[in-house]
């Protein structure tokens, strides 16, 4: 029989830190009762360590922590305007592409195409283009949120009559979508708040609460969980608010497009 396995070797073996020695150790453990007992005790001990609880994380911990951290951050916050593409680019990378398309498209139209673009220094016009781009991004955000809420509202209820069937509905796809929307929505909300648009900010906050619930709910929901989530959506009239905002945003976008087309014709 090979020499006994030391405690240290067993520890490395447990953590997979001695791959080259593993065959020798396994072979010895299969033959030696003493070492096998020692190995079993070590495994049990470290499984117990796994089961040791730590303090419960207090409710709302993240928000409290942010309130403590935020004032201490070095002030390097970019001071950019509401319509600056810089604000939106990280969450709506596509918006930048669309912006380029709009800008180049606008110039193309104005010049009749093909010829060297005329340099336009009209700030108001550039602002309109940016506004249209950003409205487009915001409109997309609301539409995606609306789709998500509708999917949850229409998801087939799990379980059969009398609660005997314990099947659960799989909402993992919706949860991932909710997580993506939360990050983008927070940025829109923050920007709206900074810009004094409290109505938009408030709706975005309502939406965020529900999206956080969706993202944090079990992947497979039972009937009760699903009903409770739907009740939240219905109680807050969220679908109505989102649809109203989508319409408003799309209308504004259309108005700007019309204005832009008129101004191109007058050039």
């Amino acid at each position: 029989m090979t020499p006994h396995i030391t405690d240290d070797e067993l520890i490395l073996h447990f953590y997979g830190e001695a791959p080259t020695d593993a065959p020798r150790i396994d072979q010895h453990l299969a033959q030696c009762v003493d070492c096998h007992t020692n190995w079993a005790q070590l495994q049990r001990t470290l499984q117990m360590v796994d089961s040791a609880d730590v303090a419960e994380v207090p409710v709302g911990f993240e928000r409290v922590m942010w309130a403590r951290i935020q004032p201490q951050l070095p002030q390097k916050t970019a001071r950019v305007s509401w319509w600056s593409p810089k604000v939106w680019a990280p969450v709506a990378g596509l918006a930048a592409v669309i912006a380029l398309a709009f800008i180049s498209g606008g110039l193309w139209q104005r010049t009749g195409g093909g010829t060297t673009p005329k340099v336009n220094t009209d700030v108001a016009d550039a602002k309109t283009v940016r506004e249209r781009v950003l409205l487009s991004a915001l409109g997309d955000h609301f539409e995606q949120t609306e789709n998500l809420l509708v999917e949850i509202k229409n998801a087939p209820e799990p379980g059969g009559p009398g609660g005997k069937d314990v099947r659960r509905v799989d909402l993992s796809y919706e949860q991932q979508a909710a997580r993506d929307l939360i990050a983008a929505g927070r940025l829109y909300r923050d920007t709206a708040t900074r810009n004094g648009d409290m109505e938009l900010s408030s709706v975005l906050e309502d939406l965020e609460r529900v999206l956080v619930d969706v993202a944090g709910s079990p992947e497979h929901m039972n009937t009760q969980d699903l009903k409770s989530l739907r009740a939240r959506i219905e109680d807050d009239s969220l679908l109505f608010k989102v649809r109203a905002l989508t319409t408003a945003v799309r209308e504004r976008e259309k108005t700007l497009s019309t204005q832009s087309a008129k101004s191109v014709r007058t050039l």
Partner: protein, 185 residues
């Protein structure tokens, strides 16, 4: 989008000067950092201070974060180092007192068939006492290996320790755990 891509996007935002990006990172990771800090410090109030300091340091060091790396791994490394500094900075508790507690624990009898809650509580208490009997670096090395699955090499690099010293920290920690938990086996 994966969690790693989400983190990278939020880091990019924060680096660009937008606090919102950093807020996303705080909301996403502060719970995990809190649990880690609780294990390191053994006290909830201290853990909160460690979380706060970790994120402030992380914010200052964001420029050094490589986008291809895993943000949580990078953040935990900062958290462990913050916790080590924190423990070293707080009034020292007598080692002898900790030794006595551990010895007393190894002798005390507690039957595994006792009430589950009490049993679970006892495990946690014994683990925490064993951890407190280790130096801050030994504690960090063990927790990084055991709970976060970092390799000995990575731990050494994170804590500025040589491979042998890292291994010995882990050996010492596991031996303490064995003494502390032996009566419950």
């Amino acid at each position: 989008m994966t969690q790693m891509q989400d983190d990278a996007a939020a880091v990019a935002l924060a680096r660009d000067g937008h606090e919102e990006g950093f807020r996303i990172l705080v909301e996403r990771h502060s719970r995990h950092v809190f649990r880690l800090a609780c294990r390191m410090t053994g006290r909830q109030e201290d853990a909160e201070d460690v979380v706060q300091e970790t994120f402030i340091r992380a914010f200052r060091q964001l420029g050094r974060f490589e986008a291809r790396s895993n943000f949580s791994t990078w953040l935990y490394r900062i958290a462990y180092n913050c916790a080590i500094d924190f423990i070293r900075g707080r009034p020292h508790r007598e080692n002898a007192e900790e030794r006595e507690t551990l010895e007393a624990m190894s002798e005390s009898v507690s039957t595994p068939d006792a009430h589950d809650m009490v049993y679970a509580g006892e495990i946690s208490e014994r683990v925490q006492t064993a951890l407190e009997g280790l130096s801050p670096k030994e504690r960090a090395a063990f927790l990084m290996r055991h709970y976060h699955g970092h390799s000995i090499e990575e731990i050494g690099a994170s804590l500025g320790m040589k491979t042998n010293a890292t291994k010995h920290s882990i050996f010492r920690a596991v031996k303490k755990m064995r003494v502390a938990l032996e009566p419950l086996l």
